[in-house]
Amino acid sequence: MKSMPRPRRGPLKDGAFTSPLHSPRTAALLGIALGITFTICFLTGVLSHFIQQPPSGFTWPSRPAGLYRVTQGLHVATGIIAIPLLLGKLWTVYPRLWQWPPIESPTHLVERVSLAPLVAGSVFLLFTGIANISLWYPWRFFFPAGHYWASWITIGALIVHVGAKATIVRTELWGRDPAGLEVTLNGGLSRRGFIGVIAATAGILTLTTIGQTFSPLNRLAVLAPRRPDVGPQGFPVNKSAVSANVLESARDPDYRLRVTGRVERQLDLSLDELRVLQQHRATLPISCVEGWSATVDWEGIRVRQLLDLAGIARPHSVRVESLQSDGLYRVSVLNPIHADDPDTLLALRCNGEALHIDHGFPLRLIGPNRPGVMQTKWVSELTVL
């Protein structure tokens, strides 16, 4: 195969790519950074998936209250950082796409074949992730499912790639490369300069978006899809009452909260009856899967207290249902730890006012350390499981 003559046209021509930036050292440095960001993204993403669809044996704790805010904020922030890293890395190694001969050995074949899912998956994950946080859905699959299964394919391809490149990366990082980082071509960027620009761009993107979850930098968040202080009652909404089609049912004067299932006594409470129950206050974040979060003062009835009233002695799982007639997030389940947490509330008020209808009036679930999609709004029924 080695004797195959090299074609002389286009990107296949010998020396078609002249920049010294296409170097193994640049590729190794960007590769390490990408490996770290993709690993963080993968782990935090799988965690978020497990919290929402717990496999048997997995129990997500209710403390620390802000843990999910951190893991999911990290998921989105590292995903954003990965964009300049990935584009820089793919540019650096692009000449290898046209290497001649295309396949050098059986192991090289195994390595090269895995590059297709690696590149496709990496670009796919970052593109769908950015589109999702921008609330743009140009495709017809369900985003969380498509993104989740792509992440397994991508991380698998990444592991194959790491195994194939481990030695070269080690050599590049620990080997001597005197002045290698300073090499330039005709006064263009040096390797150090190129990596610096990638890092600076990652920094700019982070500074202008991270304020959507890290409120001290809120004022810099000019490129963030959300602002933690913008929305009714001072924080964002994901699903409005209009889009959930609950405008009428939520304002119905005959609204009742039912507590049913494996209970001693069924409860059937009107809004006035709920208001005279003991109220509890908690300051908890609302943490969206899309990476924004906001700290809110909540006031309402402890779920634990309602379970006591229904005659439940020990912790149980509880299904929380919304007035919404459909939609994937009309139901969420409190595991026994969450149901028993003293700060897990059915909130009637937030930030000192009765809940805005877009925040779930008359009653919404709010608990520590839960994804926003599991903080069910317009709650109408608790079922003890």
Binding site: V123, V160, A166, I168, T201, L223
Partner: protein, 141 residues
């Protein structure tokens, strides 16, 4: 760019483990077909590769060859840096600029004026570029 190959054992352990995870992902994709719509998903997945390798990357090289080479020498590196940074920032902000996610029933979605935000950020980037270029010009031999 050929370097020493990894040890065979590390290579094969990673290859087997990696392809098992890929197989798991493919299985999950088809096992959850009511949510993932595999024929749609595959189009976007393969499309990601094709659009990057045969549209975005060649365009980048074309811009590099046509534009950067024409910039006088002391300004070339800072100009290149500004161009790379701006392109990535614009690409990342693109869905926000287009406002696909705007919802009449939810003013808290995409609340910023993203064009103004982008202009401000790019102004900051090119201010740095100009400062660096100026310094390079003063120091030219």
């Amino acid at each position: 760019m050929n370097g020493p190959r990894s040890s065979r054992r590390v290579f094969w352990i990673c290859a087997v483990l990696g392809w098992l995870l890929i197989a798991y992902g493919v299985w999950g994709l088809f096992d959850n077909d009511t949510q993932t719509h595999p024929e749609q998903w595959i189009r976007w997945f393969v499309g990601s590769l094709v659009i990057h390798d045969f549209v975005i990357a060649p365009l980048t090289f074309a811009v590099g060859a046509l534009l950067v080479a024409r910039i006088p020498r002391p300004f070339r590196a800072p100009f290149q840096a500004g161009l790379i940074s701006s392109a990535v920032i614009v690409l990342t902000t693109w869905p926000l600029l287009r406002g696909h996610g705007l919802r009449s029933d939810n003013p808290s979605a995409l609340p910023n004026d993203y064009l103004t935000g982008l202009v401000m950020v790019l102004f900051a980037v090119w201010s740095v570029v100009a400062a660096v270029a100026l310094r390079a010009w003063k120091r030219r031999p």
